[in-house]
Amino acid sequence: MRIRIMEIGVGAFLLAGIVALLMLALNVSGLKLMESNDTYRVYARFENIGGLTARSKVTMSGVLIGQVTDIRLDPEALQALVEMEISKDVDYLSIDSSASILTAGLLGEKYIGVVVGAEEEYLQDGDYFEDTQSALVLEDLIGKFLFNEVSE
């Protein structure tokens, strides 16, 4: 029986190593597997997402209401298409709400800020934000500033 216990221990040890490697692969360096149900999806097209990534925050008045789930290029509009999951509790985003890409701090991460509009109708699962504002790209700003300085 002593031998059996030892072999079970070794088996569990090696298994723990494999599980740890899998978790490192999936959770630390790769994809998430969990999918939450109590959310709905909305989309927004942006000219320039400027460093926004999947799993970035979606906020309203600074309060977290959801996260970005997918970013891809829309081949027809030739713009970035951002898919986000908004919590089901927040079902009062009017259809003329605007989404803009903002930066936390001067050099911090990018996130999406939502400002609601005045319409009575609300965004449903699969709807698009009509009014979007792209990320502020610091290099562009500096470029414009320098150009203005020179032309003056």
Partner: protein, 260 residues
Amino acid sequence: MIELVARLGRTGLRKLEAFGLAGIILMQSLIARPAPTVMFPLVVKQIHFVGVLSLIIIVVSGLFIGMVLGLQGYTILVDYGSEQAVGQMVALSLVRELAPVVTALLFAGRAGSALTAEIGLMKATEQLSSLEMIGVDPLRRIIAPRFWAGFICLPVLATIFSLVGILGGAFVGIDWLGIYEGSFWSNMQNSVDFREDVLNGLIKAVVFGFVVTWIAVFQGYDCVPTSEGISEATTKTVVYASLSVLGLDFILTALMFGDI
């Protein structure tokens, strides 16, 4: 003067001889291993000894190192308003450097010294020569299984160390200091690459496992068979193993990340 040169030459020859013996032990135990049916239970027994029983010290130190990294990273990064980068800092430093190196150091202290003492005592009590007398090669029967066990265990331990450390860092960062969970993990996932970081860390662990076990086994096999000799060999194991781990780590890091 002649005496001095002679002594120097003698020391050099002795070192060379030891190095040769280490190489022979390595070759013999890697190539001339016993049949798998005999080998397997022996290796399992050794994995139990050097791997499973080292698990507690690895998990506890991994947890605390991860938590300290999270805390230190937070206090520095919060000044720049980028505390979301804590996850990436904890994960990268653990996976690339700390997990293989600290695991190897702990392994040298916990398992390497025990291996040396065990084999040294076998030699002192003439168990090794008895084995030879009855026609069993001690290299195959005693050394080879221990060698393989160390080789297998260190990567497994290092992987567990990284995972536990990252979970510890996440615990401190998210649950205690209140970093937003999504940015913590997304920053980490964006910056950690499986092949570049995780696999390179694993390769380091394999190399360290090889070196630490080799040194431990050789020191035990080569020791002076007295109680003093065994204690000296055990000390040498820990010192040499730690030094070669740290030195090799620099070389490996330069090869992997140094763009040479």
